[in-house]
Amino acid sequence: MQAGLKDKTIRYSLPLLALVAAFLFPLFVSSPTYVQIMILLYFYAYLTTSWNLVGGFAGVLPLGHSAFVGIGAYTSTVLYLHYGLTPWLGMFVGGALAALVGVMIGKPTFKMRGAYFALSSIAFAEGLRVMVENINKLGPFTINGPRGLLIPLVGDSFIKYQFLRKEPYYYIILIMLILVLALTYMVSRRRMGYYLAAGGEEPEAAESLGVNVARYKLMAMAISCFLTALAGTFYAQLTLYFYPKGILGLDLSFELAFIALIGGRGTIAGPILGAFLLRPLNEFTRIYLGGYLPGLHLVIFGLILILVMIYQPRGLQEPLSRLYDKVIRKLTTRSHAMGVEKA
């Protein structure tokens, strides 16, 4: 039993350490640029983890998830600009709307083949973007078409979800990320997770075992869309400006999907791993090579996706977690040996 305890403590100590480091980070690093980098990192990790609930656990391929980011951002912002409703509440309205829309799209498309679902998600996201770009006013609400929405700066105001410094945003997104990871972990360990995995892999068999596959997929979709929309509001409040091409665009949708796929969809570690590996890679290639060849970083990104899909279709988390296991075992045997020696 001693060995088992040791193994567990070492195995979980690294993520725990990372967690503590994450919380202490802003206390040691004051440069807003770096804090901003971490904020965006957590933001993407959050989005890909939410995506994973549908794209990973439910076994379908959503390629238009930015639609829900946009729904979140637009809903909370429009309600704030027009009614003065605090974005903290507006965010939940956006989430609910996104969940509703997600279920409406999911209901007819989940029955179809994976490719058709992927196509529908693209069609929906692009259709939404085009519509939004064409609308200036929706009833009493200003949408502003392709120019997007600007949130007036009011300085530090919690109720208005605006802060002058980066630190509050950092902690908000960090907490959101932790919650979403915890949620994913819980789902995977409980009946819903098992049912989703079964339904995604062999729906007929799952149905014969009592799983209403369609219903579970829709549940996963609703949760995922809800969570994704919350991030949309966060982004809106962080940057105080967004526009259709950016927040509803196919680029964002693809980026989310690709990161989760490269990291390893269907696993908990995959999406975060993907985000933490690929976002910095994208940023650096863009900054350093973008001067000579604009868009090269995207080409590299796409190539990485293709290579990973050919050689490690379960994502990079598979070889990396095996490596991690090896390291853990080496450490436990070493400490074991030390323990024996002491005795």
């Binding site: 391929l61 498309t109 179809m112 490719a115 069609a123 693809f254 999907a257 796409g302 293709i306 050919i310």
Partner: protein, 294 residues
Amino acid sequence: MDVILQATVNGLLMGSIYGLTALGLTLIFGIMKVINFAHGSILMVGMFAAYWLVELTGIHPYLALFIVVPFLFFFGYYLQAIVIQPVFKAERHVREPITVIIVTTGIWYVLDNLAMMLFGAKYRVVTTAITGHTFTIGDLIISVPKLYGLIATLASAVLLYWFLKYTRMGRAMRATSLDRDAASLMGINQYKVYNIAFGLGTAVAGVAGCALIPFYYVFPTVGVVFDIRAFVIVVLGGLGSIMGALLGGMIIGVIESVFSQFMASTWTEGIIYVIFLFILFVKPSGLFGMKQDW
């Protein structure tokens, strides 16, 4: 009324080229059961190839066909053989070959951004021997390049049909599409069939590329426009159906053309998506599609 008639004629002509793009896509699906998300990007490659050829040599775009089409055939053939095949093989027995979809999406992404990187976002247009030529029938103005496009489409469809029905390889392809395992037991190398099928699909896209450059802008993301149209058409007409692709193309072309008389072109874009979603929800097997186990 005249306006609508003119719009309808334009729509039919443009729609035939949409149909041509869809033809390649439906062929690939019909035989491999794979939806090639990168099809629009491959069309874009064809368009750029034709563009550069014409721009640099001044050759007639329909003569450029003889270079572009084989080029795209081999491009597709090797793309399939080298990039897609390993994943395809790995997912042979999986119910839903999602990784293949992911890889073709990756190819879409890479090709579009590569083109952006190499050629920039500029909208290019080339003047060819037939650009801007029109002739009139009564009150109707018929655009010559578009008419050529229609002829190219019909010719391609007929050739394809003949190939599939009467040649040995064509029969092999049809056999593989019906039952890949049985076909391979008959001595048909299914992977060779797939490579050729893919190559044919992209070759057809090459024809479309040549047909488009006399009158359409060439830019890196042009593929997305045609990709979406192609998907809508293929779903409308039914996956795997040549007739469906052609008819579906014309229908979409006409809808687009007529609607844009009454609303901004950006709205028509939206209409296409709405139609797409509508068809998916109401009759996913399309007009002529084979009954799939959806």
